[in-house]
């Protein structure tokens, strides 16, 4: 019974084929805008690597030639060598200074772009995606996966290039010094190649496991902290702790495997380097003794050899950071690769302008033609139907839970697109409207009244970010929230997440209403929105609504039926079908479903 929902989870987590390629393409697309910077950094890399190789030459020169010359009385060679050494050191320091800054800046800019891209994409994804996904998973993309990418960008991109170049310089030096010995060194690369190949596949799978398992940990963490009231009230702590340790055990094992993979890789690399060094000494000694190589050459060779293999450690480190980052990038690419099913039109059509005479508040006609809706390939939730709502009409939707009211509303607000048929607003298909116009024209108040971190005023202002303070106060007053807000420690500037500012669910709903007052849309959709209010508040809101809805088109889902009082028309839904349609009076006086419901509701009052 406690089986986690692996099937659906893995469906989203599953990596479509070619994702590794997509991750690389994503990385390239991120780096490309910084190409000039990358070229500049490449120049710095070349200079730094050159200085790293040359620097010791100056000091060797000072020791070999400068000191004896100085003892002999000629200070010039020593002064020249030491000066050159110091100058090269200063140049190195300046280059290091510049590169550290530029790498930091570039890495952060790239990350910034990636964060923004993921954020906007997630916002664009349709509600269907969000209902299937969990917030924790998307949070893990933006946090722990980003961290992996950051580690790689800030610590290894530059160092990798530097290490490779350094090795290249030294390789050239080695070849110039002695070809046969150089060949021995390069022979060491054959086993290194195979080791790297093997490490590539094991490390990739280990890092993928760490990414997947930490995402699950995050999902569990977010859910537990979000539901802390229920966790405590129902004494779920031991069980939640158990789940966390199961998931963390998986993360811990994946992490251990990844780190141990590094151990093997690093160990082998070092072993090969050291063995090559020994072989070089033996062969070199033999060559020297046989008279085929100069002793000075061998000495230099051994000196450089150590420096040749030194960067390998950094490459191993970089390799692993890259593996970890690419596992993270795969996950990120998978999110970016998901196309929203509700898409913005490429060539949007504008809504016709309102006639000047009724510009103040005028609704728009909403038509559903031949609309059918089903989730993916499930059964029809709404079988084929037509619905025409003239501009300015207030429609109440009535029906039992699951009758299809919420679905209908989701279609009208274009959270989903109909499976068949079309929905038009003043003759314009919703799918042809650009998002900004669509959202400013049709606004919905949902069941849940989510508050964002910030002040109460900011939260009301979600209805219209440009609204001035007076408009905010007016909106709050209209829904009866003003008095309460003024009694808060900081009034409208009270932080809603601070304890004193914690709003009850009823007050949060009032905030939702206040948002609508500011939004000034053509079409208002209210989804069971007065559920948490006491009757006087509800009545106040309804009076205010009656004013604000004047002339606008409105669709109201109401269980309580009190809203029906301000409706021009009532639709009764059952199993996705409209079974009754008429004015409230007609239906109340009839003998249908609505008449019964209305009677029950009347009974419930008093």
């Amino acid at each position: 019974m406690s089986m986690p929902r692996l099937d659906s989870d893995d469906e989203i987590e599953a990596l479509p084929p070619g994702l590794a390629k997509k991750a690389r393409a994503l990385l390239m697309s991120l780096v490309r805008p910084h190409l000039a910077m990358v070229v500049f950094l490449a120049v710095i890399v070349v200079l730094t690597a050159a200085l790293m190789v040359i620097g010791p030459v100056f000091i060797a020169d000072a020791l070999d030639k400068g000191v004896p010359a100085a003892i002999a009385g000629d200070m010039d060679p020593l002064i020249r060598a030491v000066t050159l050494f110091v100058v090269s050191a200063i140049a190195s320091a300046i280059l290091a200074f510049t590169s550290t800054r530029l790498v930091g800046i570039t890495a952060q800019r790239i990350l910034f772009t990636l964060r923004e891209r993921v954020f906007t994409h997630v916002q664009r994804l349709d509600l269907g995606y969000h209902e299937k996904s969990t917030s924790g998973r998307l949070v893990s993309r933006q946090t722990s996966d980003m961290e992996s990418v950051q580690q790689f960008l800030s610590y290894s991109l530059f160092d990798t290039a530097l290490a490779v170049l350094q090795m290249l310089f030294i390789a050239v030096t080695l070849v110039v010094l002695d070809v046969p010995l150089a060949i021995v060194v390069f022979a060491g690369f054959v086993p290194l190649f195979f080791i790297t190949k093997a490490a590539h596949s094991t490390q990739r799978s280990a890092y993928r496991r760490t990414r997947t398992s930490i995402a699950k940990v995050i999902v569990h963490f977010v859910e537990t902290m979000g539901g802390i009231r229920a966790v405590q009230a129902y004494r779920r702590q031991p069980e939640r702790r158990g789940t966390l340790s199961d998931q963390d055990a998986r993360y811990r094992d994946a992490n251990t495997d990844a780190l141990r993979g590094v151990a093997w890789f690093a160990g082998w690399t070092r072993l090969i380097g050291n063995i090559t060094q020994t072989v070089i000494i033996v062969i070199g000694a033999w060559l020297v003794i046989e008279g085929w190589t100069q002793i000075g050459v061998l000495a230099a060779f051994i000196l450089y050899l150590r420096r040749f293999y030194g960067p390998l450690d950094e490459l191993v480190q970089a390799f692993n950071l890259y593996q970890s980052a690419s596992a993270a990038l795969e996950k990120i690419a998978a999110v970016l690769d998901t196309d929203p099913e509700v898409v913005e039109p490429t060539q949007p059509r504008a809504l016709p302008a309102h006639a000047a005479s009724d510009a103040a508040a005028s609704g728009r006609a909403l038509d559903l033609d031949d609309v059918r809706f089903a989730y993916a390939d499930g059964p029809d939730v709404l079988p084929r139907f037509d619905l025409h709502i003239p501009a300015g009409q207030i429609v109440a939707l009535v029906g039992a839970t699951g009758a299809g009211k919420s679905t209908l509303v989701k279609l009208v607000t274009r959270f989903y697109d109909p499976s068949e048929g079309r929905i038009t607003l003043d003759e314009v298909d919703l799918r042809d409207l650009d998002d900004v116009q669509m959202r400013s024209s049709v606004v919905m108040v949902t069941q849940e009244s989510f508050l964002f971190a910030g002040t109460i005023a900011d939260n009301i202002r979600i209805g219209n970010p440009d609204a001035g303070d007076e408009a905010v106060v007016a909106a709050a007053t209209a829904v009866g929230l003003d008095g309460y807000i003024r009694r808060l420690p900081d009034g409208y500037a009270t932080d809603v997440k601070k304890r004193g500012g914690r709003l009850s669910s009823g007050q949060r709903q009032l905030v939702s209403f206040a948002r609508v007052f500011l939004a000034d849309p053509d079409v208002v959709v209210l989804d069971e929105a007065t559920a948490h209010l006491d009757i006087p508040s509800e009545r106040l809101v309804q009076d205010a609504l009656a004013t604000v809805l004047e002339g606008r088109t409105a669709i109201i889902i109401a269980h309580r039926l009190s809203t029906v009082e301000i409706a021009d028309r009532v639709l009764v839904l059952e199993s996705g079908r409209i079974i009754e349609d008429g004015t409230p009076d007609e239906l109340i006086s009839g003998t249908g479903k609505f008449a019964q419901l209305h009677q029950a509701w009347r009974d419930s009052l008093v």
Partner: protein
């Protein structure tokens, strides 16, 4: 340093392994010093003398050391991997557990992302530090000290040069430390803010979409993200200063050794060989000095991470058993369920304003009390006091005369079952979500609870029935459906005391009536506190309390209050109802059989 030192008990429990890691790290550094000496010996000795036979022993030495170095490196990483991975998850579980028992009020004062970023980002930073940073940070000074001592023995003047170089290095480090630590703290806090923002932007996606406010959210995100970017860039800039200073200083020292050494050779107080040896040693010391910059930055980030971790661990648990802990499964005594509020005051921690003041109320065993009051009058607060999700500021809440603060927290929560205004379902099956209310309940009991909550029909129509996965990771249910599952969870096992906070606000009136009836019939012995907005709910209660200005303004049956309390009539919409409607007959409920 203190926050990092506080991890000592964990370190001590694995001290053997960790010391081994340190030794291996030191050895690796030492080998770096030895190998050049041997290779130098080989070149100057056997090779220079063309003595092939004298070659084998030192070469074997180089090979052995080479293999040992590789094995040592492998072993160090192999050993440290499970230890630090284990620490990371151990610390997370401690953090998680601390938070699980932290009272709701304190939870509300933390941004959720600040908790998550501590549990994930900060702990992975600490893992990295304990795996690599710390061993190297501890071994590097030793290597530097040994190198300097070697120089001093060789020639005190060269040693002095090295020590003099350390002075500006230490100054640079000191300046760096202060700025870097401050920036690192701000950066990690901003990461928490960003996490919160991402979480909100996804959890509030419906609002953002319905108002078309995604651009607004993106702007908000962008602002935080820009701040994070600048802080990270600032860190890189600070790094660049330290980095270049630490790169420059040793080379200056080397140049000084060469210059001063030459003078010494001329003066006759040192030899060329000594100068060469001194330069060689200083060359070897360059690596650890350069690394110091990186290690220091890493240590400071770890220090910040540790500080942030302990901030959570140090949260005081104010709602606990008598011994200061919380027993997960205390013995549950026998209670009748008389719930009593005596002179109860309540205010939130950050304000003096009393939400409840001098509240007195008694609910007899088995009685159902409906609590009504205007939006924001403190009903939900009052409900949260019963299972001690929050503690009262003054007065007492008692069950059968026992102060609830004298009971074990989980004994109380065993007796009291709650259904919240925002139904919280967990990502698991319907059955498990309901069973939570009475662990070990049979399938029959689950169905019975679902029936009381009028959820039986829709659950049996779900794709997998009781086994259907719900919650954030499962099937998305409507608000009314979620409420009914949460209600089923509250009523399963027939709790002694039932607290229902507006449990059916998103359910139609028909269903609500059915649930009310079922509650009465099936749970006659449960003391019930129900927050109500509907006259029908209030009418079914044995007694109704009207909450106003933080106290009980009126108490009585529905009918009594309709007669006596103007406030109640207003809250129930009765007075307005009578005026507004032309069908007076409908205002008279058949159940009550009377007209207000």
């Amino acid at each position: 340093m203190r926050p990092l030192l506080r991890f000592w008990p964990d370190l001590r429990s694995r001290i053997g392994v960790y010391v081994l890691v340190l030794v291996l790290t030191l050895l690796a550094n030492g080998i770096q010093l030895i190998v050049p000496v041997i290779t130098g010996y080989i070149v100057d000795g056997p090779i220079a003398h063309r003595d092939l036979s004298g070659l084998w022993l030192p070469v074997l030495g180089v090979l052995c050391i080479g293999i040992a170095e590789a094995v040592g490196m492998w072993a160090r990483r192999m050993i440290v991997a499970p230890v630090v991975s284990h620490w990371e998850v151990t610390w997370r579980s401690r953090l998680f557990d601390r938070l699980q028992y932290t009272s709701v009020a304190i939870h509300d004062s933390w941004e959720s992302g600040q908790l998550l970023s501590r549990a994930v980002n900060d702990l992975s930073q600490l893992r990295r530090f304990f795996a690599f940073g710390l061993p190297f940070l501890l071994s590097t000074p030793i290597v530097l000290a040994v190198g300097t001592v070697m120089l001093v023995i060789m020639q005190p003047v060269f040693g002095l040069i090295m020590i003099l170089m350390a002075v500006p290095a230490i100054i640079a480090v000191a300046v760096f430390e202060k700025h870097y630590r401050e920036t690192s703290r701000r950066s990690q806090d901003t990461m928490g803010e960003l996490t919160t923002d991402v979480e909100e932007s996804i959890q509030g996606i419906r609002i953002l979409k319905s108002f078309g406010r995604s651009p607004w959210a993106a702007e908000r995100f962008s602002e935080i993200s820009t701040r994070l970017k600048s802080l990270e860039i600032r860190k890189a800039k600070l790094d660049s200063w330290l980095w270049s200073v630490l790169l420059l200083l040793p080379t200056v020292a080397q140049a000084a050794i060469v210059a001063v050494g030459t003078w010494g050779v001329i003066e006759g107080w040192t030899t060329i060989g000594t100068v060469v040896a001194a330069v060689t040693i200083s060359m070897v010391l360059r690596m650890p000095i350069e690394m110091l910059g990186f290690l220091l930055a890493d240590a400071l980030m770890a220090l910040t991470a540790a500080g942030r971790y302990w901030e959570v661990i140090d949260i005081r648990h104010d709602i606990t058993d008598a011994d200061g802990g919380v027993d997960d499964a205390p013995e549950v005594g026998h209670y009748l369920g008389k719930l009593r509020f005596d002179d109860v005051d309540f205010h939130f921690a950050d304000t003096e304003r009393l939400t409840l003041r001098g509240l007195n109320l008694t609910i007899e065993p088995g009685q159902t009390l409906a609590l009504v009051g205007a939006t924001g009058s403190g009903k939900t607060t009052m409900a949260s006091l019963v299972p001690r999700l929050q503690d009262i500021s003054a007065g007492t809440v008692s069950i059968d005369g026992v102060d609830i603060r004298d009971m074990a927290v989980n004994e109380l929560r065993h007796l009291v079952s709650v259904s919240f205004e925002d139904p919280i379902l967990f990502s698991t099956s319907v059955a498990e979500n309901v069973e939570m209310g009475s662990p070990g309940a049979s399938e029959e009991e689950i169905w019975e609870a679902l029936e009381i909550a009028a959820a039986k029909d829709f659950v049996s129509r779900l794709p997998d029935g009781l086994d259907t996965q719900v919650g954030e990771q499962g099937l998305s249910l409507s608000g009314g459906q979620r409420q009914r599952l949460a209600l089923a969870r509250a009523v399963i096992g027939k709790p002694r005391i039932l607290v229902l906070d507006d449990p059916l606000s998103a359910v139609d009136v028909d269903t609500e009536d059915r649930v009310q009836q079922a509650l009465r019939e099936i749970l006659p012995d449960s003391t019930t506190l129900i927050i109500a907005h509907r006259p029908s709910t209030a009418a079914l209660a044995d007694v109704v309390a009207v909450l106003d200005e933080g106290r009980v303004a009126a108490l009585g049956t529905h009918e009594q209050l309709l007669d006596s309390s103007k406030l109640y009539r207003e809250l129930m919409g009765a007075s307005a109802q009578a005026e507004a409607h032309t069908h007076p007959g409908t205002a008279a409920s058949a159940k009550e059989g009377r007209t207000p």
